[in-house]
Subunit: 340 residues, 2 copies
DNA sequence: TTGAAAGCGCTAACAG
DNA sequence: CTGTTAGCGCTTTCAA
């Protein structure tokens, strides 16, 4: 394995000059091309850890999804995070950065250590965190106070001045409510994610309170909380139908909506004539079901890109803070009537 | 930032002893605990690149998906790879290893360099490659000859003795054919992925040749090649129906099957009474559609785990080669009749 | 069992 | 513009 030293020797220069030449710093162009050709001749490849050790930068960012044992399947059985990952990769490639991927359980007792290490071990230059739940994230304190570059997606429980990108799920829920109101659905049901999940909380809040403005209430028996998987959507619909017959159901993601739709089909209940269904996320599955799903869209891959760009700005000191709110929009498809 | 030197000084020992103590090597237990408590006191966190530089190991593995511009969406709009990633992460965590994730286009002219670097830059200890297409992978030669630990998923075009895990898609296609034969479907259609995609080639070959044994042939007009997305499945079904009315359709993944099913619903064609549909992969979407999808299963997350475990064995020198074939199985659901 | 010291490969300050 | 030199923080021989 040729090292920089070997290249320098072959080129008849010092390692310093060799380093400068290879890194596009200012040197005599003749020496530079000499060095470059020597490097090529020796098949020289710089060893990353040498540079990292010396500069303190790794050219790697990390994506961490914090999951919960209560919702173990939602990361796995959902392409949601895949979209985000793809967006992040695409952006970081542009900056010649690599992506580290990790999933940890909120319940893991190792998390405080995890973050203390991440901050100090110089293995990554920044981190994107997706916490998901409204739990206590005390283990993040060390990170937040360290000055280490980070961005958090949907950090409901944290105070205002942390770096975050927030999806306005409250608004998303309200959009669905407005749709139901407009279509004059009075008997309305809801299939949420885990009760403590941010998305459930916010989407539910926006939905319920907007409906309340029109004196529409969602009875207890018309509420079910699943885990964002198809299976739980099916089960939720089943359970609700057992005691209640809604005119419209709002499912808090498209997977559960798909499950609910299948349940309705199996019972011969027509969509949207007898029951309208609305999903959330507008992921590819929204067009995979019949009838196609009305959903709330905020462009997940773009979200991934924004997370990455934001983190990049922090890493490169272009900006010192990140505060972005993404507003969703309604995408009408045939699982809801257009008019009534 | 406290370094090992600081810890050693505080503990009144040499850095060598400090290192040994912290890494569980043999030292006097009294000194060890002394060192450990000093490390704790100083909030000592080892900097990864120091160790990497010194040992040559990074404790990181890489997953690389090689995509093609012809099939740009199939990574993004499919949760397939997500399952694999989750499986890999889970396993590597066990070994205290991190995961690097990357996607590259087969068409990228940078790939030869990419691999030459990966082999030498010591940023990762091994790599899992998913090539997908039956193209020329000459850029992998440097890797294959280097002794660098790697595992390739479905490496159809390579010679026998490379490290690989191969899904027996040929068998999978044959399983579907056998099902169709058993159910006495004579007019059969096929919706494949990209023509040059391994999965398309193998699944198609197994399917067509098994059918041929019973003198059942799939006419040209009953074949469509999409890109594994829902949209292309829909379009494929649409196109086929335009000139042909099959009794059964084999879609080469579940997403396309979902698209095909929606197309059939929109035309009021009953499933499975008028047309039976079969998918492949048995991913969560198989139970998201109505009727639920008969599919070919090989447990994708487990596949991810096997890829990781295999790579691990190579890295840790437990084994010197990997040759695994995974046989799929048929999962019957209501998109096919049980009997006829 | 421990310490001294060399070295992993690179960058960067400084001097020339 | 280039060379010398001193680290970056860790592991690991080799002696003691």
């Amino acid at each position: 394995m040729a090292t920089l030293k070997d290249v320098a020797k072959l080129a008849g220069v010092s390692t310093a000059t060799a380093s400068l030449s290879l890194n596009g710093k200012s040197v005599n162009e003749a020496t530079r091309s000499k060095v470059i050709s020597c490097a090529k001749e020796l098949n020289y490849v710089p060893i990353k850890s040498g540079r990292t050790l010396s500069t303190g930068r790794s050219n790697i960012v990390q994506l961490l999804i914090i999951n919960s044992v209560k919702c173990a399947d939602c990361v796995k059985e959902t392409s949601y995070y895949n979209h985000i990952i793809q967006g992040i990769v695409k952006v970081m490639q542009k900056y010649d950065y690599g992506l580290h991927f990790d999933v940890q359980m909120w319940e893991s007792s190792a998390l405080p250590e995890y973050f203390k290490h991440k901050i100090k071990d110089k293995s990554t230059d920044g981190i994107i965190i997706i916490p998901q739940f409204r739990y206590n994230y005390g283990f993040l304190d060390s990170l937040l106070q360290s000055g280490f570059p980070y961005v958090i997606l949907n950090p409901c429980v944290f105070d205002e001045n942390i770096n975050n990108i927030t999806l306005d799920h409250n608004r998303g829920g309200a959009l669905v409510a407005e749709l139901f109101i407009q279509l004059q659905y009075k008997k309305v049901a809801l299939i949420g994610g885990p009760v403590e999940h941010f998305d459930t909380i916010e989407r539910g809040r926006g939905f319920v309170s907007k409906l309340a403005e029109e004196s529409i209430f969602v009875p207890e028996q018309a509420r079910y909380y699943g885990d964002f998987t198809v299976k739980s959507g099916f089960k939720g619909m089943e359970k609700i139908l057992y005691t209640y017959r809604p005119e419209a159901v709002f499912c808090f993601n498209d997977y559960m909506a798909a499950g609910a739709i299948r349940c309705l089909h199996e019972r011969g209940i027509r969509i949207p004539d007898e029951i309208a269904v609305v999903g959330y996320d507008n992921i590819e599955i929204a067009t995979a079901v019949y009838p196609e799903l009305t959903s709330i869209d905020y462009n997940i891959e773009k979200l991934g890109k924004q997370l990455a760009e934001s983190l990049w700005k922090l890493i490169s000191n272009e900006e010192s803070q990140v505060h972005i709110v993404i507003r969703p929009r309604l995408v009408m498809r045939s699982s809801c009537k257009t008019e009534r």
